[in-house]
Symmetry: C2
C-alpha cells in the first residue's frame, strides 16, 4: 500500500481520510494539534509543525507521496523530498507560485490569464504614487488567509491602512458573480473539470450565504471560465486538485481571483453531488488510478457552518436536530472541540434538482444552525 | 461528545467510522486484530476478544453507547453494560433472539411472521423421523455464518450430513426472488424503511452475482414485504438498524429468511444512492438525532468483491483500473491485507436510473475485478 502523508489535519484532511478508506492506502498526518479533526482517522499521526523544515522533511522522507490541505507549509522541505523521489501533490514549484500573491499575479500576467490589474508594492509610502489606481484591494503577498491580510483602499485617505511590506495592490472590479471551478490533473497531465459553482452573498453584510451548483451563467461565459481554469492548471504544470476562483464583471469579463492548489471549500458539495468527489479524485491521482467522473448526480447547495461571532469556547450546535429533520440535507460537523468567531466548524450540503428548493433550504439551514458555546 | 464503541473492526465498522466523521462523536473499536479494516479510523482502538465477557465488559463500561458489526459477541457482557446504563444498539434481548436460529425461528412463529416451516432438532438421529419433511435445509442454531453451518438435505440419504447438535430443519421452498429490506428504528420507536433490494444470482453456480435497488416486485408484494419487515422490528423492540432478508416464493408468498440486527451487506448501496445511508442512520439513532431520509437519490446495483477461490495471501486487485474508468461506479476496498477464498474484500456500487445499464455495468464489474494474491 502506498504510504501517503497529508500536511495539516483540519477538515480538509478529515474529508480526505474519509475518502481514503475506500482505497488501499496507508495514511499519515502531520499537525501540531493532536486533537485536530483528522488526527484519529489516519494510520499514523505525527505531531509537528508543517511550516518547519525538519518536521516536514522527517515526516515525508519515508513516504511514497505527500499532499497538503493548506498552502502555509514548508516548501523547501517539499522540494528536498521531491528531489529524493517522494511524489508531492501539488508540485512544490506550483505551490511556490501560488503561495505568494505577487508571484501568483505575475504568473497570471505572464501566461495571459485574465485577472484584475495590479501593482506590486513593497512599502506603504509607495501607495501615494498610485492614488489614481484606487479604489483597490491591498493584499499581503504572504500569510493572508480567510479575509485577513486584505485592506480595501477606496481613496487616498485610506492609504494609511495599507501594508508596509510586500503586497499586491489590485484594482477593484465591479463583480456580477463569483464562481469557482475545481479541476483535477492526473500524473499524465490529463485533466477533468467539475461544473462551476456560484457563490451567493448576503446583500446586507456581503458575507457568503451559500454556494450553489451549477452556477447560472451563459454557455459563452461557461466556455470562457472553463478555458481560463484549464489554462491556469496547464501552466502550473502539476498534478493535483486545483480550485480556480473567478470573478465575472459587469461587462461579462471572466477574471481569475485566486487559485488554491488543493481540495477546497468550494468543492465540498462533490462528496454527495458528484460521481467522484474532489477528495476521491485526489486519491485517484495520488494512487495512479484513472481520473473520476466529474458530472453532478444532482444539483446542490452548500452552506458553511461558521463559529458565531459572539461565542468562543466548547462548541455546541444550536438547532442541529431541526436541520437533520430536513430530508435532503447532509450535515458535516468537523469535530473541532472549540468554536471561535468565524471558525469553519462544518458544512451542510443540500441536494435537489429544483433551484428554488436549493435556495429555500440553504437559507433555512443558514438561519437555523448556529455554532455557539 | 458521546463515547460510542463498536464491537468488531471489519468493513462494517470501517464504513460506520467513515460516516461517524460527519458528526460530533468519540469512537472506540474492540477487535482482536489490530490491523483490521476499522482499527485506524477510530479515536480509540482496543485489542480484545468480542466474544469474551471481560473484554467486552471492560471495553464498554465507560462508554455512553455501544453497537455491533457482527452477531457473534458476548451478550452477557452487553446485558450487564445495559443494566449499568450503557445504551446498546441493538438491545441485547433482541440480539439474543436473533443470534440463535432456534429462538429466531420461534420468534417469527410466535409473532405470526411468515417464515418457512421448520422443525427443531438436537441430535442427528432425530432427522430420520422427519424424512417426510425433506427436502430441507439443516442449519446450526449457533455459529453459522456466510453459508457455513448449513447443509441441504434433499432426501433420507442425506441425513448423515446433518448436525448432531442444536439446529433448525427448515423446509426448502421454491424461491422466485430474494429481497432485503433495511429498517431503521429510533430510540422513540419511530421507524424508517429503505426501498427493498433484490439479489440477482448467477444461474450456473447459484452464487450472488449482484444486488439491484429497487427490487422489481408488484406493489402488492412490496406492501406485504414492508409490513413483514416492520412487524419483525416492532416485535424485536429495539432501536437500531435491521436487515430483514425475505424470500418470495412461486405463489407470491413473502417469507422471512433471517434478520440481521445491524448494518448489513444489502445496505451498502445506500452510501451513495440514498439521502441517509444505513451507516449515517445508525449514528443518527445512537446520537439521538432525527431519523434520516431513506429515499433513493438514484437507482443502484452493488457487486461484492470476494476473494478469488484460487488465491490466498497478500491481496492484489486485478483490473481495478479498468473498473475505476467506468464513469458511474464507486469502489470500496476494505483494506484487508490478506485475501482468502470467499473473503469479503470490498464492494462496488453502480448508479444509474437505467436498469439495463445497472445490469450491464454490474456484470462487467463482476467479470473484470478479481482479488488475487
Amino acid at each position: 500500500m502506498k504510504k501517503t502523508g497529508i500536511l495539516g489535519g483540519g477538515q480538509l484532511g478529515r474529508m480526505l481520510l474519509q475518502a481514503a478508506a475506500n482505497y488501499p492506502v496507508e495514511t499519515y498526518v502531520l499537525e501540531n494539534d493532536e486533537n485536530c479533526p483528522a488526527a484519529h482517522l489516519c494510520d499514523h499521526f505525527a505531531k509537528g509543525d508543517i511550516t518547519n523544515f525538519d518536521d516536514v522533511y522527517h515526516f515525508g522522507k519515508n513516504l511514497d507521496a505527500i499532499t497538503i490541505e493548506i498552502e502555509s507549509v514548508n516548501i523547501e522541505a517539499l522540494k528536498k523530498l521531491e528531489s529524493e523521489g517522494v511524489k508531492v501533490y501539488p508540485r512544490p514549484a506550483a505551490l511556490e507560485i501560488i503561495k505568494n500573491k505577487i508571484t501568483q499575479k505575475n504568473f497570471y500576467k505572464e501566461n495571459h490569464i485574465p485577472t484584475a490589474p495590479f501593482i506590486i508594492t513593497e512599502r506603504k509610502e509607495e501607495l501615494r504614487n498610485h492614488s489614481g489606481f484606487l479604489p483597490a484591494a491591498h493584499k499581503l503577498a504572504m500569510g493572508g488567509y480567510d479575509g485577513k491580510g486584505v485592506e480595501i483602499l477606496k481613496n487616498e485617505k485610506d492609504v494609511e491602512k495599507g501594508f508596509d511590506e510586500d503586497a499586491v495592490l489590485e484594482k477593484l472590479i465591479t463583480i456580477k458573480k463569483e464562481i469557482s471551478i475545481i479541476v483535477a490533473v492526473g500524473e499524465d497531465g490529463k485533466s477533468a473539470i467539475y461544473p462551476p459553482v456560484e457563490m451567493v452573498f448576503n446583500n446586507d453584510l456581503n458575507l457568503l450565504a451559500y454556494q450553489i451548483s451549477p452556477a447560472v451563467i451563459t454557455e459563452k461565459i461557461l466556455w470562457k471560465a472553463e478555458a481560463i481554469a484549464l489554462a491556469v492548471v496547464k501552466n502550473l504544470e502539476s498534478p493535483g486538485i486545483f480550485a480556480v476562483e473567478l470573478f465575472l464583471d459587469i461587462d461579462d469579463n471572466v477574471l481569475v481571483n485566486e487559485t488554491a492548489p488543493r481540495v477546497h471549500n468550494s468543492g465540498h458539495h462533490t462528496i454527495e453531488a458528484a460521481y467522484s468527489s474532489q477528495f476521491d479524485m485526489l486519491w485517484r491521482i495520488i494512487l495512479g488510478y484513472p481520473l473520476g467522473y466529474t458530472k453532478s448526480i444532482i444539483n446542490s447547495a452548500m452552506v458553511n457552518l461558521i463559529g458565531d461571532p459572539n461565542y468562543k469556547g466548547q462548541a455546541k450546535y444550536l438547532n442541529l436536530e431541526d436541520v437533520l429533520k430536513i430530508e435532503n440535507v447532509f450535515v458535516h460537523i468537523y469535530g473541532k472541540k472549540e468554536t471561535r468567531p468565524g471558525r469553519k466548524m462544518g458544512h451542510v450540503t443540500v441536494l435537489s434538482n429544483e433551484r428554488q428548493e436549493l435556495i429555500h433550504v440553504a437559507n433555512k439551514v443558514k438561519q437555523l444552525l448556529k455554532v455557539i458555546s
